[in-house]
Point group: C2
Chain length 328, copies 2
Amino acid sequence: MVSRDPRSRRVALGRGAEFDLIRKLLADEGALPEEVLVGPGDDAAVLVGGWVLSTDLSVEDVHFRRSWISDVEIGYRAGAAALSDLAAMAARPVGVLVSLAIPPGGGADAEAVYAGIRQATRDAGAVVLGGDLSRSPGPLMVDVVVVGRAVDAASRAGAEVGDDIWVTGTLGASAAAVRLWASGMEPGGDLRRAFTHPVPRVTEALRLAERGIVHALVDVSDGLAGDAGHLAAASGVKVVLRTDRIPVAAAARSALGDDALDAALYGGEDYELCFAAPAGAVRGDDLSIPLTCVGHVEEGAGVWLDEGGDAPRLLERGGYSHVEGDGA
Amino acid sequence: MVSRDPRSRRVALGRGAEFDLIRKLLADEGALPEEVLVGPGDDAAVLVGGWVLSTDLSVEDVHFRRSWISDVEIGYRAGAAALSDLAAMAARPVGVLVSLAIPPGGGADAEAVYAGIRQATRDAGAVVLGGDLSRSPGPLMVDVVVVGRAVDAASRAGAEVGDDIWVTGTLGASAAAVRLWASGMEPGGDLRRAFTHPVPRVTEALRLAERGIVHALVDVSDGLAGDAGHLAAASGVKVVLRTDRIPVAAAARSALGDDALDAALYGGEDYELCFAAPAGAVRGDDLSIPLTCVGHVEEGAGVWLDEGGDAPRLLERGGYSHVEGDGA
């Protein structure tokens, strides 16, 4: 699905302060080498030979708090979050490289963090290929580089007018857990697990790719609004989402009531897939996990929300920003 | 130069607390996939198709201080240090992925750090392929993933009894700069530049590899003692270094006097190459930079220092540890 047209090897990003800065940082880059099939802007870079690479940073007190979850869980979610970028490219995970900065003295346990990363890596069928290690005079930080391989890598670009927009699983549970913790409450089983043990949708992405029905694919890491925005921007189209179709997690609904939709749209860290496919090409039971048609693609730009009443309204906000803090 | 023997695809590490921890962390890893030619323990992983990957972490107040150098320089040295791992594999740099965690509010300037990384990347003939961005509630951290390609990747393993040990350039200047800063002094031009603008020896490594005379190769990132130790451990040999041959940088000698040798052996961050080649195969003028024969390979283990008097003594210390702090 990756275009070899050199003009399209850089991918446009959606809204948000984090992406404004990234756009600026990447502004004056030169030409990409021939052996780079996809450069900055997609979920991962793609190299000749089908190698797919991405990197994902988890920072204490930005992405997680050590008072919320264990060191093993910190490692697991950092690994799973990074591996989700391979799912977003329909790439099979091969290995990870782990850079770990650990506060010394009685604090975080490097071996426990590492055990969590290794478990997430094994669960995805991959191995640890290397890494780097440092002490940190401040927060614990984990940067996980994921290495995968794709026969035909998926891209954020490629959604066509008339396509349906689909989402796997349910959304908002991880963000609901964070909101409970932030309010001094302890999230229960399903909510907590959504945050600590996200499942990168690798199997599902490979299955969808094999069927050849995916025009554009992204993982939902920063909230559906933000990630559908990346897909829209990369594809040069408008995405219209129907409020009543968004599969808000039941546990998020119980915990947050009407705010659960906001958690699904802007909360982030669900690590589900969002993809565009031709109308009628996908069935709701195509995968062994829930699959929901949440909207469609039109000519235009941006992500619009159809709330069933008046005309759809443009979502001005992007997803969660790990640079500026909560967009929600 | 990479062996396809699966037993040798993991590479043994030398002495030091950082490496003791890494050994522990990697202890119960399973089998490597077929498409991984070199796994953990060498300077980088090597994948089918000749792709070479490594990651290198730079943490404020561990690897650098913001009172010492500018944000552009922080980026440059982080990029150059990471690219040096490609030189150590005799790989041609293709691209980098950059994960950046920046303290918010008036502190470090993400664009300046990024400009430095981009300059180091361009200087090495590579481009930025992607990355991640977060705020940091503590120190600035940069993790640079380097992506290169090698026709026949060099390895730390492969040194043979009777080989000579060679070093490019001079050693100790970067560590001398750090020692001056740590003593409240300001290092002068050559010393400062050794720290802020290390030159990854990519051209030199490719030239040596083309000549087919390198049995084992490593970059000197943690001090000659530590990195020669990795080469010895990976190759299953003893390395004997001659004190009087070690090319201590003149500026380091001026600044530190007799302590300059210590900076060369244990200080780190020189980013020169250290390699084993058959006796007589290398000439001192084979490269356009200084090339010095500093010792030879014998049967045995560890790094030994021949000070010209009694029998050589085993160096018990590894190189600089970014986990435990100064080994010096």
